[in-house]
Symmetry: C2
Subunit: 274 residues, 2 copies
């Protein structure tokens, strides 16, 4: 049997957004293998209930385990906010989400203690960002704002469109008014709107990308647990595997546009069987 | 056993949109009972593949049959376009969708033969509206346009917002340029944008609402098959039943805003078990 250190990392998301997290992991720990799953049949998660997100996430973790993963990254803010705490005690491998790493950095780097969080409805309603930030920094004030139109705008490809700028102005106005110095981009699609967000928030507000922080935390975790891959000679064709629950070819096009290489093969599975 | 004539009609949609169809059935055939199912755990369908839409729709028809329905209405354009033809031979009760009734009326009422169809990506890509319209009216020219941001805008409640007007202008511009005299609102959410669409298209373009046509066709079908309810004394509390696959309370609020009465009870089920 293969050494556990050479086993892949399981990374999953409700759809394509988590590829921004996968990309960051590929960049920061380039010799780790990745099995990515995008739940494109049931996307989006952002407006769905905790029970449903837990049920879906549990199926996905079961699926990823069949691929022999040594650790799991929930590369979806909504699933991290709603399902991570429930799933963690159910599995005997490390499982991390994107919310904690992003929240910790925001709590530690804010100067005026005022932090904005933009995310899906379900993530905002979970109040997990608030809880984690205030555990780390009890004086912090956290201002959350759900931005349900951002994902559809990104998927329409209108990244710098005047419509997107107007929607972003509308959503961000109340956050600007609070005088925040830090804004967490609490949904994996939002870093793709970074330049629009930057323009509206101005240069003084620090934009936190949880994908970056998550990859850092994953790297440290693998080293701490003795799970980091110590070999460099993994065959290229077994480095990255992509699975989806719907429309593999559409996913493949989007993946190829986000990742620094072409995605040749995406496999379609029935996730509800897991 | 109850007489089949008193059995309910099964009506389903990917989520809440199909309630605009249910409302029309309630208005036109007020003594028919309805069992409504909204697949809120897996909404939306509009960008998903044919195989997935068929699998989901088949589960829902199985579920509705457990409720003893005498007929099924697919109150979702995407599922009507992608799954109806496959499911029809699988069941021994009448099953109709919203595409055919809408397409037939458009084909029969156009004067200049130029018809626009706005719908989800998957509905447009299915080309079913084109096929049905041209079967009825071989000289018709059909111009389809996917409008993926309309559903999120409706669900955000921005029905007459300047952002929605701008998005609608963008989507409808190429249709306006073709000189269409008829526009099919080929997604159940779109009639909620009727006043914005009317303003952009002008008074001379006829807006076709498939919900209205579907309720008319259902009424005729029930009479023809001897299935129309011939009793007026159905107890009020068994008239309308609502089932969803996620977040029953959120659905209930939306349903109460669309329907002419308050929805007291919505039941949550695991649709993947059917």
């Amino acid at each position: 049997m293969e050494n556990i250190r050479q086993a892949p990392i399981g990374v999953f998301d409700s759809g394509v957004g988590g590829l921004t997290v996968a990309r960051e992991i590929m960049r920061q720990i380039p010799n780790e293998r990745i099995v990515y799953f995008g739940d494109t049949a049931r996307v989006p998660y952002g407006s769905k209930s905790k029970d449903t997100i837990i049920r879906f996430s549990r199926q996905i973790v079961h699926f990823l385990r069949t691929k022999g993963v040594k650790a799991v990254v929930i590369a979806c803010n909504t699933a991290s906010a709603l399902a991570l705490e429930t799933l963690q005690p159910e599995v005997d491998i490390p499982i991390i989400g994107v919310v904690l790493p992003g929240a910790r950095v925001a709590a530690e780097t804010t100067k005026n203690g005022k932090i904005g969080v933009i995310a899906t409805e379900s993530t905002i309603e979970s109040h997990l960002y608030n809880r984690v930030i205030q555990e780390r920094n009890p004086n912090a004030q956290v201002f959350g704002k759900a931005c349900p139109l951002f994902c559809p705008l990104v998927e329409e490809g209108w990244l710098k469109d005047p419509v997107t700028v107007e929607v972003a102005n509308r959503y961000l106005e109340p956050l600007l008014a609070t005088g925040i110095d830090t804004l967490v981009m609490g949904c994996t699609h939002y870093p793709l709107l970074r330049s629009t967000l930057r323009e509206i928030m101005g240069d003084k507000v620090n934009l936190v990308n949880p994908a970056y922080e998550t990859a850092r935390e994953l790297k440290a975790l693998l080293e701490e647990k003795g799970l980091a891959n110590d070999r460099q000679d993994i065959p290229a064709d077994s480095m990255y595997q992509f699975y989806v629950s719907d429309a593999a070819s559409k996913f493949q096009r989007f993946a190829s546009s986000i990742l620094p290489f072409d995605v040749d093969t995406t496999r379609l599975i029935h996730i509800e069987d897991y």
